[in-house]
Symmetry: C2
């Protein structure tokens, strides 16, 4: 158990990145632009600025500046919980009997419990700086809503969270955390928007969907003066903010003289994976280094491994721009059996393009094996991981077991995006042996893909 | 917001304490010894060793060794989540407009969510080292049970947690965390013990009490070969292990050149307060420095501020030794209105003696003002505090406001013992304006004190 290397490869506050890294600047072939669904032409800054804060719209469209300075106000907030620890998983290595060295970047040591806070604070800052009264968003599992509530509480702006009604009712504790930070949490569909009222009229008693919540949040922002809409994943601006994860990881590995061999992250919309790998991908794109990158997605929502690379709507409600991405079709909804997050039908256009270029591997894993890995990890490392993060754990453990068989000493790095405190209902199902696996049929995926825009 | 001083006054892993500090060694007048309830004579090592592991029994009786070395196996575990950050509360200071400098020692950044892990890992280690099959304990709110489950999972020994039945039913998530770490969680009263069956026969349908759970856990340990009983607070061994909190705080303040003026902690059985203040109290006892110490307890369970200093049973079931302590009587049960922990009828004999010597101040606070402070703290500092910890927050904020009025620049240090993720039901009551305050009447306290052993 003893080693020259500490358990936590810490950076000091002075080593916190000054700028976010924009991987698009190093991509020879850029991600395809967002399109206006009506004209099929690239959306303009002016169009985007009606929905997003202007600075964020600029970041969304910026594919040339390699670094974008992090404003001091955001850095001040980051210093409350960052640099996040890069942990050497000595105990897990021992439990697995592997010669591999395993490292995880732990983003769960802030009250929101996940990496989502890195982008939430940036988006809240730009809204406050632009003089907005507040922002609106949707939340499903609740990590994003929690992070945004904290961020808006800090900058004293309103935060309206449209929370999918079934989640609002099943996760009252998530809801209360948001309220404690001062957010206004509205079960969706609601009577406060046209979109919500229409759905309630057509489907009385519906428990809602993420697609409907997005429609309500967007309408609520654009129809009221002083409000903007914000989103926690998928968008290129979000990957930009999340690059702080990868930059710190890169700096810590360099500080301790470790060269990563493989870098692994879970992937839903791509916020964590993109943030973690992009500075390393930059090294690859500039010809400075080689790494293996692995995206891990749920077998029940396999956009990279079983989707199509095409233009699709970002939202089920079809009010948002079209993005070129690996998608299962915007009407795809994971089976009710699926317990974790990572339920987005598409994937960040940056990651989709890099995957299409063959620069990223992808794996899909069943949730029962994910929870088994989560439990083994918790018992070894003393951290209760979020189900989302546990997708990466599962594949990291598989890679480490392969090293045990081959005898190779590899450096495996993975992103531990958050904690599972609010996911104990899912753990209970697993602990009681009641969790099952649902894998969509080819026919099911073909059906939702048939509806792609042309 | 800028300062020479960082947000987190971090120590490196190399600065982790090598030994626990035993404040009893520096006390001229020692805490009164535990007594055998039958003979009223001090309990012997032999007697204690039938219930506790031998090393722990020795620590319980050791009032002469100032330092006790922390075994390397425990230090290895500590390194996974320690040193814990000492945070400069810049944002809270700004929100309060105070010239005071506020620091908090944050013990919530481990999966168990509280400082309880510091002693749990020690107790599990000694049990494993002594070749025990496992340990038994009771848990009410669940912090201790969670920490012990993690610790036992790490050392691969059994962990039987008797969880008060109403808590078992109302806090299913706490229960699942324990099960995920491999613990056996038994709702108490249960049919697995004589004590449990007797209570169930007398009071069918009872939802249990901490006193009953202790009786079941002790019986379950002493009646089975290979098991020992462990406890998360009150005992002197627990305060010894928790001294790691105070030692780190002392080292970090020294490293950054800060002299504390007042040190504040919440107090239930005394594990956190004792751990935090004891190294500083040692300086006072040795005549090296002066500090103000403040114990903060709930107005609904005010053992220091309204109790009596006398010998009493440590447990409601009257199976444990007698301890001399500030007590409300071992039959005292806080009103059902009380939502947080800190519901123990007595107080650590070490802290009781120091309080009796006038070396510690005590305050009692109402839970509605505690939750108000918790909410203000969460919004400023981005950490959702446990209700227990928020007692200390409330008084720290009061002290900071006094500095604002007087213009004094004081260094206020308090213990932030844990996070409130599993306490959202209580936050909800507060957020909805439904929380009330219950303060026991003098007659009520006199009634439970009338039953003190003679």
């Amino acid at each position: 158990m003893k080693s020259e290397m500490p358990y936590k490869l810490m950076l000091t506050e002075n080593e916190l990145p000054n700028s976010w890294y924009n991987v698009r600047a190093d991509m020879a072939k850029k991600p395809a632009p967002l399109l206006d669904p009506a004209t099929k032409k690239p959306v303009t800054l002016e169009q985007l600025s009606q929905v997003f804060c202007t600075e964020l719209a600029k970041q969304e469209l910026n594919d040339t500046d390699r670094f974008i300075e992090i404003p001091e106000e955001i850095r001040a907030f980051y210093r409350m919980y960052r640099p996040a620890p890069l942990v050497r998983a000595y105990c897990l290595e021992k439990a697995l009997g592997t010669p591999a060295h395993i490292f995880y970047k732990f983003e769960g040591n802030n009250t929101s419990g996940s990496h989502k806070l890195n982008s939430a604070i940036a988006q809240a800052y730009y809204a406050a700086k632009q003089g907005q009264k507040g922002v609106t968003t949707e939340t499903g599992a609740g990590q994003w809503g929690t992070a945004l509530s904290m961020a808006c509480g800090y900058f004293h702006i309103d935060c309206d969270v449209f929370m999918v009604k079934c989640s609002y009712e099943q996760k009252p504790f998530r809801r209360e955390v948001m309220r404690t930070f001062g957010a206004n949490v509205i079960p969706s569909p609601s009577m406060t928007t046209h979109a919500g009222r229409e759905i309630l009229e057509r489907f009385p008693g519906t428990t809602g969907s993420l697609g409907c919540a997005i429609s309500e949040a967007v309408e609520s922002a654009v129809s009221r003066p002083g409000y903007r809409y914000v989103l926690g994943s998928v968008l290129s601006q979000v990957l930009l903010h999340q690059s702080v994860i990868g930059l710190e990881t890169q700096a810590a590995l360099k500080k301790y003289g470790v060269k990563a061999d493989v870098i692994i992250g879970c992937a839903g919309g791509g916020s964590n994976l993109g943030g973690l790998i992009s500075p390393f991908m930059g090294e690859v794109l500039r010809g400075e280094a080689e790494y293996r990158f692995i995206a891990v997605e749920p077998a029940s929502c396999p956009s990279l491994t079983r989707g199509t690379y095409a233009y699709d709507f970002c939202d089920t409600g079809k009010v948002c721009p079209l993005a070129k991405m690996y998608t299962l079709g915007c009407g795809f909804i994971p089976n009710a059996d699926h317990v974790g997050g990572l339920r987005y039908h598409g994937m960040s256009s940056i990651l989709s393009e890099l995957y299409d270029q063959g620069r990223i591997e992808a794996r899909s894993v069943r949730q029962t094996e994910v929870f088994q890995a989560a439990k083994e990890f918790a018992q070894a490392e003393g951290i209760l991981p979020a189900p989302e993060s546990s997708h990466a754990i599962k594949i990291a453990m598989d890679e480490a077991r392969r090293c045990r068989e081959s005898g190779e000493v590899r450096n495996i790095v993975f992103g531990l995006t958050g904690t599972g405190y609010f996911d104990m209902m899912a753990y209970q199902r697993f602990n009681d042996g009641l969790m099952t696996d649902y894998i969509p049929s080819d026919a099911e995926i073909a059906r939702s893909l048939a509806d792609l825009p042309r």
